[in-house]
Amino acid sequence: MERRLSQLGLLPGNKVRIIRSAPFRGPLLVEVDGREIVLGRGVASHVCVENL
């Protein structure tokens, strides 16, 4: 999973913007480096972020 995230640009130190989330505990849509990525809740809960 870590590799998968790093491939899509989710590397430590990068800025992430949450665009929207699907209802019923559905996935999040986030933007990294201008690319939109869908992250399931399970995955997203493993990503540590800091509020900017």
């Binding site: 899509l8 699907a22 505990r25 201008g34 990525i37 399970g42």
Partner: protein, 635 residues
């Protein structure tokens, strides 16, 4: 000479490949359309070269079987030049892969694709500067319109002839020292890719390459481990992260130097997702879009089916009265006519609008939106949203659907989504649902069958999940931007499948129909019918459908086309009650995958899983049809 097309998912490699090869590769606006490589011959400056379209991958360190193909290809086969395609609107990500490719020590030509999209977004790219910074030739390209293709391939031919390679990018000192240390120990000429690339991949922890080294050069393995640990200790991150971060920084620096963000012209498309992915309206639109699509297929197909069936019915009667009677020849000819009319009246009228519509939804980028909206529901059946790709491809044909399970990382997910995707009614079963149930009983019956199908799949998924608990972390998927599909790509894609029906399936339908006429003539069918008698008895449907069900395993359309032969008429409403039609259709939708699908499952997952899925489908088909029968009896 061999030219390899490499690029990230959804950057347009397959579109480029199809421009060159005619329509041979599947394309679509989502990640993972190409799961295996395809080859074609290409003539450049009077010489024949071989062009390979490799699956899209974010890095060479693939995490799923589809992505693994790329690095394995470079290790196993001799490649003379790489044509690296990147998406001009996602330069940073694209360049990360480009930097990794330059390490391989092969000549590279870079094609910056989707320049039209970039200029719409106000992105200006300085190609000359990019070429200078990377040290490789760079060409702008709009693959969907065929622009820049000739220049790119002519240059790649030259690059291959010169054998011109580039100096790979340098990383920070600690990494370079580790790489250099390992590189020196790797024997010369043992790999087709540069020793530096091998060393980096070993440090990054590529499982296949590390396993190979462990067997051939066990002494290097311990060294790699030591260096990786040391890097981890020094810089407090694993080597794979360190290298990824280095490449990203370099790519960002390059992109900042060569690209300029001007004023963007799109606003409507950006806002589209506010509606289509809205927590409430998103589902309303999903329902509407699927509903309109469904009614369009029904409307167009139904308008054609009736008249064409009538025409062939009359034609068949005239022929049989001409040959006067029930002799072998007359039976055989009417069997052949039924095979022809089945394809023309029942299959094609629904297949053509269906494939055009599906292709349009695929190319515009709506499928990933469906995955986003449906992820929560998919979790209920033990899968994540990524499995929506095989599901949706399954509505076209089960074979590509099962192949596309390769985009999943976990074997359990691959099995489960393959098992469930085979139960999605493919275009062949669509003809049974529309040609039989909808045609005689109305569109709502067909819609209900589709809905019921999803319900049964969800329940089945839930039950299997009880035995195989979900352990995958879930969905990680790139959201593609909306793209207006060109008429050419959509029609070409539909034609790809229609051609398959016309030239491969239709002859089988005609032969099957004729064979059934023979079997009828010599009264063999009652014996065949007995094979399926336990099922037909339980479902309360006529015993004569046994033979069409057996032939349906070869081609699903046969279970409808041969019904005409089995009953001796195409007026099915006269020989079957509405309840029987529904039970039969439901059973056909689920039971035993067709032969081509079974072979694909065997290739992808092995014999054991193939039999497991086949057995499962039979159990599910019986249960689903029985529930329907009992339900209809109560009403």
């Amino acid at each position: 000479m061999r030219i390899a097309l490499v690029g990230q998912p959804n950057c347009g490699k397959s579109t480029l490949f199809n421009q060159v090869a005619g329509y041979k590769a599947e394309t679509g606006n989502f990640a993972g359309t190409t799961v295996n490589y395809k080859e074609t011959k290409l003539r450049i400056l009077g010489e024949v070269a071989e062009l390979v379209d490799l699956p899209g991958t974010y890095t060479l360190l693939g995490t799923n079987p589809a992505e693994r193909v790329v690095l394995d290809y470079f290790i196993d086969k001799k490649v003379d030049v790489i044509v690296n395609v990147i998406d001009a609107t996602h330069l940073v990500q694209g360049l990360i892969l480009t930097l990794e490719l330059t390490e391989l020590g092969l000549p590279i030509v870079l094609a910056v694709n989707m320049m039209d999209e970039a200029s719409r977004q106000g992105i200006k790219i300085d190609g000359e500067n990019l070429s200078e910074l990377l040290g490789i030739p760079v060409f702008p390209m709009i693959a969907s319109r065929g622009q820049g293709i000739r220049e790119t391939f002519t240059e790649s031919w030259r690059a291959a002839k010169n054998g011109r390679t580039v100096d790979p990018a340098k990383y920070r000192l600690e990494i370079e020292q580790a790489v250099e240390h390992i590189r020196k120990q790797i024997p010369e000429s043992d790999f087709r890719i540069s020793r530096r690339a091998v060393a980096i991949k070993l440090l990054e922890g590529d499982p296949a390459l590390n396993a190979k080294i462990a067997v051939d050069y066990p002494e290097i393995t311990s060294d790699v481990q030591e260096k990786a640990d040391r890097l981890c200790h020094l810089l407090s991150r694993q080597a794979v992260w360190l290298v990824a971060a280095e490449r990203q920084n370099l790519a960002r620096k390059i992109a900042a130097q060569i690209a300029e963000q001007g004023e963007s012209y799109i606003s409507l498309r950006d806002r589209l997702d506010d509606y289509l992915l809205h927590p409430f309206w998103g589902y309303v639109f999903l329902f509407l879009i699927i509903g309109v699509f469904f009614l369009a297929v029904y409307g167009i197909g139904g308008a054609i089916e009736g008249p064409v069936l009538d025409f062939f019915e009359g034609f068949s009667e005239r022929v049989s009265s001409l040959l006067n009677g029930s002799g072998l020849l007359s039976q055989l000819i009417s069997g052949i006519i039924q095979g022809i009319s089945g394809g023309l009246a029942i299959v094609l009228p629904y297949l053509v609008p269906f494939l055009l519509g599906l292709g349009f939804l695929e190319d515009i980028g709506y499928l990933t939106r469906i995955a986003f909206l449906m992820d929560a529901l998919m979790h209920r059946m033990g899968l994540h949203g990524k499995a929506i790709v095989p599901f949706i491809l399954g509505y076209g044909c089960s074979v590509p659907a099962i192949m596309s399970t390769r985009i999943m990382e976990e074997r359990r997910d691959r099995f489960l989504s393959a098992a469930l995707a085979t139960m999605i009614p493919c275009a062949a079963r669509l003809s049974v649902i529309f040609g039989l149930a909808a045609f005689y009983l109305g569109p709502w019956v067909a819609a209900s069958i589709y809905f019921y199908n999803l319900l049964v799949i969800a329940v089945t998924g839930r039950i299997i999940t009880k035995f195989m608990p979900e352990d995958s972390p879930g969905l990680i998927l790139e959201m593609p931007v909306y793209r207006m599909p060109t008429l050419r790509t959509v029609t070409a894609k539909a034609w790809f499948r229609i051609r398959e029906f016309v030239f491969e399936a239709w002859p089988i339908l005609i032969i099957g129909s004729a064979v059934l006429a023979l079997l009828n003539f010599y009264s063999v069918t009652p014996f065949l019918d007995q094979l399926f008698r336990p099922f037909t008895y339980l479902l309360g449907i006529p015993a004569e459908v046994g033979t069409p069900l057996i032939f349906g395993i070869f081609r699903k359309e046969l279970s409808l086309i041969m019904l005409a032969q089995a009953f001796g008429t195409t007026q099915f409403a006269a020989v079957m009650t509405p309840e029987q039609i529904i039970s039969y259709t439901v059973f056909v939708v689920f039971y035993i995958p067709c032969l081509a699908t079974m072979v694909t499952i065997k290739n992808e997952l092995g014999w054991k899983d193939m039999w497991l899925i086949t057995g499962l489908s039979l159990v599910v088909a019986l249960a689903a049809a029985l529930v329907v029968r009992l339900g209809l009896m109560l009403v």
